[in-house]
């Protein structure tokens, strides 16, 4: 099964993942399961059962890329991101993916796509985020519509971009 999950709060800039998933409806095959989760923490792991390819979509906050930049992270990049503090309010995404990996729960393929957002939301950044969101939706629709299949990531349209993980050094992608 292929599953796309939009992550984040349903409010404010963090609802980007929700927007992307909502706009993917009707643009991807019916077999692709689209859903959203509000800051699930470790509960994300329970949504990995019986999934072959999991695509996570989230808003990204970083000062190293301009608002609207579409980013793509492979699982190893996310998992090796320096961990924040483990809190009773939930593990962050890298910690959750490390735990899922240890438990053998990771899907065969996992991709995280993000669009850089900013808290200030100037007119320029708003325009950039809207453009980036539309671009990501088109990329995902193309990937899921037939041009791209699991295990054929070599021509992944997002690869090659200057991918960064928040609070981490820039990471070179393949």
């Amino acid at each position: 099964m292929i599953r796309v999950i939009g992550l984040g709060s349903p409010f404010g800039a963090d609802r980007l993942g929700w927007d992307v998933v909502e706009r993917l409806h009707g643009r991807v095959p019916a077999a692709v399961h689209l859903m959203t989760l509000d800051r699930p923490g470790v509960a994300l792991i329970s949504w990995m059962d019986n999934v072959d390819w999991l695509i996570l979509v989230d808003a990204v906050v970083t000062e190293r890329s301009p608002p609207g930049r579409v980013l793509h992270f492979a699982p190893e990049q996310i998992r090796h991101n320096p961990a924040g503090t483990l809190s009773s309010h939930g593990l962050n995404l890298p910690q959750t993916l490390r735990l899922a990996s240890t438990l053998g729960s990771l899907p065969r393929r996992l991709d995280l796509f993000g669009v850089v957002v900013d808290a200030c939301r100037t007119e320029n950044s708003r325009h950039g985020i809207a453009t980036g969101t539309t671009q990501l939706i088109a990329q995902l629709a193309a990937m899921l519509g037939g041009e791209h299949r699991p295990d054929s990531a070599s021509d992944d349209p997002a690869r090659g971009s200057a991918v960064q993980i928040p609070s981490a050094s820039p990471i070179k992608t393949s």
Partner: protein, 431 residues
């Protein structure tokens, strides 16, 4: 006893919620300085509530905590209904208890498996623990997920749920939804039974100590969303009398207030609840606890983990019992008629007693709000515990061992520092 000087500073504690730190200075084998620093920024929620209409309070206070929003919602609902002279009907009170079961399930499952257990099994984090104990971690994830589902049943969603209102709920679950939830609750019961035995088998430091327990006590059930405030030192008061016995004070190292009962530190939370309410446990939970061979009331603070495990069992048993008799109501709430006055409300958050007081005007607008969360009530107790636990552990241990023991003691309380921070008083002296 060592004669060395030791200075340990844990600048940011992990596996607790919020921003806190610990300062420990040992001179000539004696603890000269020990302080739990809380530097999470103040959050001003009580001030935010002033001028808001009573209907907004339930959603606003849910934002205080991402893991115990229901506790905040239920204490607020109790307080506002008290101010308006409204008594919730049986259906609402029953569903509030079910709602609460969901919160205990998810919060306790997360703390036991992901935050506390690594301390007792010798791991830095749950990721390392999962390599050796994958089934235990999976059990924790299953129970936490079930708790979230139960919250969603009544709250619409598990994060900052939106289903509750003053007077009841916005929506009653359909019978089919309840039937499906019942099946999942029954399936999970063996997990909870196994968890209790597993928790009892963890190697805990044997370190009995003296402390005062404070919790709600319900007329017949294990306390969750209603009851009187009692202690094992003879306190037995109505929720409205909280202020007459408990006082909060500022400390320079903390943005959270320190609460005291008659001038002394006290304990709230699962161990205090269990110690004070053993006779209110469901029969099957009581039997399960007896089978562990561990005697309660317990004076070993580390038995808090076992108390959480038992409360997970209580939550499953209670939610099942209450939902088995479920009937869809004609309407899931009572009408509210605002009136000027003051109301107090309390409930048992996963971390302990959570007390609210609101003053409202004749239109139902909040004029004053006061919230006393469990972590600020436990702060003074944590410092006392740290001081004596480290002495009992042995100050001659190396810095890493002392640091780990100190962190274990603090994590044992499952502190939620974000909940506990308050607006700091500002004192200006002018010449």
């Amino acid at each position: 006893m060592t004669e060395r000087s030791v200075s340990i500073h844990v600048p940011a504690m992990t596996r607790v919620e919020g921003e806190g730190a610990l300062r420990l200075r040992i001179e000539q084998g004696e603890i000269e300085e020990l302080a739990l620093d809380i530097f999470e920024p103040p959050r001003y929620f009580e001030k935010f509530l002033e001028g808001r209409r009573y209907q907004e309070v339930i959603d606003i206070v849910a934002r205080i905590c991402g893991i115990c929003p229901i506790a905040y919602q239920m204490s607020a609902a109790n307080a506002l209904e008290s101010a308006f002279g409204l008594v919730a009907d049986d259906w609402v009170r029953t569903m509030r208890r079910v709602f609460y079961c969901g919160e205990w399930l998810q919060s306790h499952a997360l703390h036991v498996h992901l935050l506390a257990a690594p301390d007792f099994l010798g791991f830095d984090s749950v990721v390392g623990m999962a390599e050796k104990h994958p089934e235990a971690v999976r059990r924790g994830l299953r129970l936490q997920a079930l708790g979230n589902e139960l919250i969603s049943l009544l709250g619409g969603r598990s994060v900052h749920p939106v289903g509750a209102r003053v007077g009841g709920f916005f929506r009653a679950p359909r019978q089919i939804e309840v039937s499906q939830m019942l099946a999942r609750l029954r399936t999970a019961l063996p997990d909870a039974e196994e968890l209790v035995q597993w928790s009892a088998g963890l190697a805990m430091p044997d370190d009995p100590q003296t402390f005062t327990c404070v919790a709600l006590r319900h007329i017949e059930d294990y306390p969750m969303a209603e009851g009187r405030i009692v202690s094992d030192s003879g306190l037995d008061i109505a929720v409205e009398a909280f202020d007459e016995h408990f006082a909060e004070e500022h400390r320079p190292q903390s943005t959270a207030l320190f609460a005291r009962l008659h001038g002394e530190p006290y304990l709230v939370g699962p161990l205090a609840r269990l110690n004070l309410n053993l006779d209110r446990l469901p029969e099957s939970s009581r039997r399960l606890l007896a089978e562990t061979g561990i005697t309660f009331p317990s004076r070993n603070m580390f038995h808090s983990l076992l108390a959480r495990a038992i409360e997970i069992h209580v939550a499953l048993v209670e939610a099942t019992r209450l939902l088995e008799d479920y009937r869809e109501p004609a309407r899931p709430y009572l009408d509210v008629r605002p009136q000027a006055g003051q109301g107090c409300g309390a409930s048992e958050a996963p971390r302990g007693l959570l007390w609210h007081r609101y003053q409202v005007d004749e239109k139902g607008v909040i004029r004053n709000a006061r919230i006393v969360p469990p972590t600020s009530q436990n702060q003074a107790r944590i410092e006392v515990d740290l001081r004596r636990s480290l002495r009992h552990f042995g100050l001659e241990h190396d810095d890493d061992a002392l640091r780990l023991r100190a962190e274990t003691v603090i994590r044992n309380y499952d502190p939620c520092i974000s909940c506990a921070t308050h607006f700091l008083q500002l004192e200006v002296k002018r010449k």
